[in-house]
Amino acid sequence: MLTRSKLGIVTLGLGVALLAACAPSTDASGGGEGEGTTIEVWSWRTEDVDEYEKIFDAYEAEHEGVTVEFKPYVATEYDTILSTGLSAEGGPDVAQLRAYGGLQPLCEAGRLVELEGEDVDTSAIPDEVLGGARCESDGGLYGVPFASQALVVYYNKAIFEENGLQEPETWDELMASSQTLQDAGVTPYAVTGKDNWVLPMLHDLFTAPRYGGPEFEQAVQSGEKDFTDPDYVASIETMEEITPYFPEDVVGVDYATAQTLFTSERAAMYPGGSFELAFFQQQNPDLDLGVFAVPPPPGAVVEESMTPGWVDASFGVNSTSPDQEESLELVRWMATQDFGQMVSDELKQLNPVEGVTPNDPVLQEISQLRTDSPTPYLLLQDFRYGEPTGTDLMAAGLQSMLLGDADADAISADLQKGIAQWFEPGA
């Protein structure tokens, strides 16, 4: 209604006016105050405030006169807030950055400092991980990656034991276990079909060996193959073997419900990411968790299980920061094992720096699976550099599949059609 839109405009107006009124004071606290320097670090992890305080306390203790202020914003609004912050005064000195495609609007606009020319030592971080913080246009490094994610199947050890099940070694065992659980009235997999961003993750988690993981990635990048390749189509078809074990009316199940089904022990397995571990442990501390990598499905190109993963976040420096040298010093420290170990212990995130070992046993196991047999979360890592993104296309396609409106051929054809609009193989 008009009254609604009018009210919206007025509220927006007031909001902007308020923000404008607040801006100068925010700016003042960001600058140097005589003797000390305050470095403002922006992030989308509102849940990690206490942990970051602890981590930065350690840094402050070693760097006299430097105060690091951690300032998180809501994750879903963060990209907008950051791009505005970086293009105006009062922005952050150091900012948490999205990886791969999500980084491009910022680095292409020249908002960040190129780090390799600034003496940031990234030798302890693997090259493919650094790839997540590089700018496509100039190949420069604009962030220090500090959090990676890996995809595994979490399972409830107690439920497995009650039903006489063990970690599956083969695809057939996985299917048999799923059937046993379903017959016993337990939902085998807690999955959301409503919040469809989860679905492309499940595709790689369950079927990456079917299409061949990294080998296929290279073939697609060089133009030798595309997404209509029979093995890739078959990998989508393989999903249809698992979907009967998803919750009933899965397209009506949202993300929070799927997580609750697992933490309330109504579902036996949760195919998900390392980023969910802390939440599960927090929601139900009594939950006895195990993890495994999905065994290769029949006809798999690579006959071993694989653990998909990707770089999630890095820290970079604002190119207009008044305290650029101090900010760079902080980012240099973020590439060290010291910082990496704290990220792993305090934030329960997988840190890519060599020599960092998680102290949480489950996280350690995930880290081991990832190191043993890594494969990229292909559509996120390589196909988010243009619009429409590979992950969005796959998400929509798999959701239609769950509803019975699309088959593997149609999904892969749409994926190829969408991506071909901006992706040039061999470039």
Binding site: M1, S87, K194, G252, T260
Partner: protein, 312 residues
């Protein structure tokens, strides 16, 4: 000025001097210009350029507009979203406004209960559509939701469905949720319009032997035309600007499977999840949406004014 002052001296107060007028009008004009007029024109300007992040690059003419209609799957999404806006508008007219009129007619002569019911029915629109959306999502959850639990409890298991998970039921359910929230609005407008119709008209018709229905359909309803027109135009604008409720229920993609995707969500996606040239493409969409909504509202308003003139 002087002539008017002389003529109106007996019936109205003289117009205040210009500085006083300005003092009262300028603040509103400034706010309006800064927050409405300026963004409108800057969106038009933005839509003609290519962007990398927040940095403006070269002038590209209509390229961003062309991209809206040629990029797969944006072209298909745009079309289906537009269709959903149309369905939403028609559904809202049919359910929300018809019920609003019915309740207004039922209540307008009941002086004591009217206030109570008006307040009750208008209460939901004091709540943010986002909150309303999330609450209904909670109630309609297939696993833990109240509604399906109620159906199960009374033996109507066949009625318990994933209401918001089935593309067939999602949009109708959203229309109902929206109607639940906004029912009070047409009710108040129609109530005010009914109150302004002199009671003698209906009384005279009844004396002449008209039945209740005849009196309503021949006397009251035609006299409500201006109010119906206003409600229609406002519903149209509201339906095509729909965002918060659709976002709360279906997220930025209008899930399930884009069944409740509307233009507002397509705009949100192109603007905030749209990659490097997001500002260019989303501004183009914003301009088109504005031109369409403004244009239709303008034409509809003209048409309705003419109808009113014919009636009076």
């Amino acid at each position: 000025m002087t002539a008017r002052r002389g003529r109106g001296a007996t019936t109205r107060r003289p117009a205040p001097p210009f500085p006083v007028l300005a003092a009262f009008l300028v603040p509103a004009l400034v706010l309006y210009s800064v927050f409405v007029v300026y963004p409108l024109f800057s969106a038009l300007q933005y839509s003609l350029f290519e962007w990398t992040g927040t940095v403006r690059r070269s002038f590209v003419g209509a390229d961003n507009f062309v991209a809206l209609f040629t990029t797969f799957p944006l072209d298909e999404q745009l079309l289906s979203a537009f269709g959903h806006n149309v369905v939403f508008f028609l559904g809202t007219m049919l359910i929300q406004n018809t019920l609003g009129l019915t309740f207004a007619v039922l209540l307008y002569k009941r002086h004591i209960t009217r206030r109570v019911f008006q307040t009750l029915f208008t209460l939901p629109y004091l709540v943010s559509p986002l909150v309303v959306g999330y609450l209904w999502v909670l109630m309609l959850r297939p696993q833990f939701g109240v509604l399906n639990a109620m159906f199960d409890a009374v033996g109507l298991e066949s009625m318990s469905q994933p209401w918001l998970g089935d593309p067939g039921t999602a949009l109708p359910v959203v229309i109902l949720i929206n109607a639940w929230q906004w029912l009070g609005f047409p009710m108040l407008l129609f109530g005010a319009a009914l109150a302004s119709i002199p009671e003698e008209y209906e009384a005279a018709a009844r004396v002449d032997g008209a039945s209740t229905w005849q009196a309503f359909s021949r006397i009251t309803l035609p006299l409500l035309t201006p109010a119906i027109g206003t409600v229609t135009v406002l519903t149209f604008i509201g339906s095509f600007n729909l965002f918060a409720l659709a976002y709360a229920v279906g997220g930025s993609k209008g899930d399930p499977a884009g069944a409740i995707d509307v233009l507002g969500l397509v705009f949100y996606r192109t603007a905030f999840e749209g990659g490097v040239n997001a500002i260019g493409v989303s501004s183009a969409l914003a301009v088109l949406m504005f031109v369409f909504i403004f244009g239709v509202a303008l034409v509809a308003n003209r048409f309705l004014r003419r109808r009113e003139a014919e009636l009076s």
